[in-house]
């Protein structure tokens, strides 16, 4: 399946969905002008991927900040992963947060509570 790569902008995250190399990553900021429009092609990509996923799908979220409009879309995205997981495929999510950012940690906990999906919360290693 063809990879989906979206370069980051100052308002939108970098997205790498590359099954061939086993890389599934979201990083940066998410306050797009059109949140639905930004996430729509990502949802479509996951809908196609769900038909023939890898044995293990490990998705990493390393977000700097985002607004509630984006958090709804991220939940929709995670629901697609939950469906892949429910179909018997291994899916793991790592939710990175800065150790000083308790709101980002709490958002990860929200997703843990709302979904039947293994979501690991992980403190970012400072470089």
């Amino acid at each position: 399946m063809e990879a989906l790569r979206i370069e980051s902008t100052h308002k939108t995250p970098r997205v790498i969905l590359d099954p061939e190399n086993g890389i599934f990553e979201f990083s940066g900021r998410s306050i797009p002008e059109d949140s639905v429009g930004f996430y729509a092609p990502i949802f479509e990509w996951f809908d196609r991927y769900a038909k023939n996923p890898l044995p293990v799908t490990h998705v990493r979220f390393d977000l700097e900040y985002f607004n509630t409009s984006s958090s709804k879309n991220i939940l929709e995205l995670l629901k697609r992963l939950e469906a892949i997981h429910a179909a018997g495929h291994e899916v793991r999510v790592t939710w990175y947060y800065d150790e000083d950012d308790e709101d980002m940690e709490e958002t990860g906990q929200d997703y843990q509570a709302l979904l039947n999906l293994p979501i690991e919360l992980s403190v970012k290693i400072q470089s």
């Binding site: 002008e33 900040y65 709804k72 308790e102 709302l114």
Partner: protein, 191 residues
């Protein structure tokens, strides 16, 4: 007596500079913006705030929380139909406040006031539950998705992040418009 370096009468705008400076100083306002709020502008403001906070010596946890509250406050100020909004950040000895103000329809004042009053009465657990409801299934929730074009989830988000009650003020401008201000607080000893 007003001193001017010019023989000509100074511009009327100059007479506003000192009162504005004095007002900001007296009220501990460390950042003020008035104008349209667009996504591009949100990024610019956040970059500026991030720069100022990183050099301020403020506790990183407090800086991060202030920053996150500003992200959502600015999103609340976005309204292409009603034009300008006002953002104020105050730095007091024991807390920061972030206030966002914008015009709303007067017909919406009552509903919005009631909604914020309701949010202010929720316990942290109930707040979390209400937030989850709106995040997961907004249409099946008994909580309105928006009040007066203001997304309910944004208000819940601000209340959760600040862990303090949200203060508000409505100023009636005319029979159609009111100015709505919402203030979130961040205690410096937040735990």
């Amino acid at each position: 007596m007003v001193a001017s370096t010019s023989e000509l009468a100074p511009s009327a705008a100059l007479f506003h500079a000192y009162p504005l400076y004095r007002n900001m100083l007296d009220n501990s306002i460390v950042f003020m913006y008035h104008g349209p709020i667009t996504p591009d502008l949100i990024v610019d403001i956040l970059n500026l705030i991030d720069y100022r906070l990183s050099g301020s010596g403020e506790d990183k946890r407090i800086s991060k929380k202030l920053f996150n509250i500003m992200v959502e406050s600015l999103s609340l100020g976005e309204d292409v139909n009603r034009g300008h909004a006002t953002l104020l950040v105050r730095q007091l000895p024991y807390l920061y406040t972030v206030s966002i103000g914008r015009r709303i329809n007067t017909a919406a004042v009552y509903g919005l006031k009631n909604f914020i009053d309701w949010v202010n009465m929720l316990s942290p657990e109930d707040l979390r539950e209400a937030y989850h409801q709106l995040l997961q299934s907004p249409t099946s929730s008994n909580i309105p998705t928006s009040v007066a074009d203001v997304p309910s989830i944004s208000i819940l988000d601000l209340a959760r992040k600040s862990s303090e009650y949200l203060d508000y003020l409505f100023e009636y401008l005319d029979e159609n418009d009111a100015f709505f201000s919402l203030e979130a607080r961040i205690r410096k000893n937040h735990s």
